[in-house]
Symmetry: C2
């Protein structure tokens, strides 16, 4: 009898490394999460290598075979070189992660950027299941997109496609656009919080401050959303402005890529009740009308597991290609 095959998924985040095993049908098992050792690039790579060995061991224990492992990194994975860049992991600046892992492992390994893993996961077993043209838009501390077009992940010339946080959405250039791009400066979770804090510091009256325990520095996007639920005028104003920028950003994605579905996720959409339906209405004003009519805007179905599912899908794709 042939040994049952599994693929491994390792989602390296900014602070944690999540891992799991997947069957070909997408059943998940052996889910685990550890904190990243940030003492240097070798330390984090060592943790990933240990994790692959642990997954292989778990598979052997049930008489199975680890067919391939997909790994996502919180930054950019360069497909040609196997090097990674991840601003939150010390030492991962053009770090040769693939070579390091291959010194220890014989198993096939696929590296991918986190946003590409998210869209791969959602289009495999999530809110975009079955779609060959799908986008995952992550709106959290920053803004970025993973893109599948015609059934393939879109990488671009240097593997940095999807940097939609840099969309220019307002010709009146502001200083903060220079460091993060205009979409991100106007609509990320961090930017929503920053705008609220700036207005409060200028002395604007709002229940936002009460909800943050009277401390301006404790204001977050979630606090602004909570104040908006209670109809606080300042919060409603910030939300309305954010919705306009989110709608423009999504419309721009829809007009250029003509996707079947845009999956939205990330910290800001934890408050989907506040942001999602207004965005769904508003983006139609901005997008190419035919493309706007057919596209679906969906909330992530896999949540924080999107990256794991994506890593598993990429690993299974590699397994198919190799066989």
């Amino acid at each position: 009898m042939k040994a049952m095959e599994f693929c491994g998924a390792i989602d390296v985040g900014g602070t944690k490394i999540a891992s799991a095993l997947f069957t070909r049908e997408g059943e998940i098992s052996a889910k685990d999460k550890i904190s990243i050792d940030k003492s240097g690039g070798e330390a984090a790579a060592g943790q990933v290598g240990d994790k692959i060995e642990a997954l292989a061991k778990a598979v052997r224990a049930v008489g199975g075979r680890l067919a391939a492992v997909g790994i996502s990194v919180p930054g950019i994975a360069t497909s040609a070189s196997g090097k990674v860049w991840a601003p939150n992991i010390p030492g991962w600046d053009q770090y040769p992660l693939l070579d390091k892992l291959k010194e220890r492992q014989e198993c096939a390994i696929v590296l991918e950027s986190d946003r590409s893993a998210y869209v791969a996961g959602e289009s495999w077993r999530g809110a975009a299941a079955g779609a060959r043209d799908a986008v995952f838009l992550a709106v959290g501390t920053g803004i970025g997109a993973g893109i599948i077009s015609g059934g393939r992940i879109l990488h671009g010339h240097e593997d940095i496609a999807g940097a939609v946080g840099w969309f220019g959405l307002n010709p009146a250039f502001k200083p903060e656009y220079a460091s993060m791009g205009s979409f991100e400066a106007e609509a990320s979770g961090n930017s929503v919080a920053r705008k609220a804090r700036e207005l409060l510091e200028r002395g604007m009256a709002s229940s936002i401050l009460d909800l943050a325990g009277g401390r301006v520095e404790a204001v977050t996007a979630e606090v602004v959303a909570e104040a908006a639920r209670k109809k606080d005028p300042l919060a409603l104003e910030i939300v309305a402005e954010t919705v306009t920028y989110l709608a423009m950003g999504i419309a721009n994605i829809v007009s250029i890529l003509n996707p079947e579905v845009v999956v939205v996720g990330g910290g800001l959409f934890q408050a989907a009740d506040v942001f999602l339906d207004p965005v769904r209405r508003e983006f139609k004003r901005w997008a190419q009308p035919l493309a706007a009519r057919t596209v679906r805007i969906e909330l992530s179905a896999l949540g924080e597991d999107a990256g794991l599912y994506g890593c598993a899908k990429l690993a299974w794709d590699r397994r198919e290609a190799d066989s």
Copy 2:
């Protein structure tokens, strides 16, 4: 001895049908251009069919073989159905062009939208030669883009990808955005002319009017560019605003797709001396910095032949795939 093979290229425009033969190496011959019969969908389709027969006859006359024909349409070609939509050709509204042509022809036929043909041509023998990640941005009466990503034309879910004229670039929604999108309303050749005419009609003094022979209705983007060359203040203001929007639009393309090269063409860039270098400087302020550093912004090298070259490339690709 094997008969020498040629591919045919037929570029259906808004008013003319251009055609030519191409060798596998990209040598062009038998170039021709006729006016479109606009008496109905069948008439125009008949002209295309006649043209294919004429190309086949020309090839037979030199003892060769017509391997395949690529045809571009000024609108949308739906790859799955072989139907076309072209607003400037009466009757071509979900018109079954491929089926109609196949009634008469046995030769392999590929249909494509014009903007996709342009990028295919430029990345074969033009300003993006050899690039696997390239965009053609056409800025004329309207604005649209053809996209090649990872060596493949990007079509989207319903073959309408590249509708970048609909990019939202200014959150202050204006009525004209509703019918054509904000990028096109701010930066197309028609919009540049419209802005100048509106300002002149409001009584602004400018040499633009003199250059248009004193007739407001004779003002075109080319006239505005000519006035800008002569340092007319109003013209310089319109050009500066247009440059900002062009830079934002190109930056947005660069940030989301990470192309190796963006080829610009179309009527507005006939005045490349006025628009191109300012756009090249300004877009870097808006685009993702790594992607902006490596991308080239180039003027179309093939000009009005870009569509023919693209049709030929698509035909040769089909020939390779079939063999």
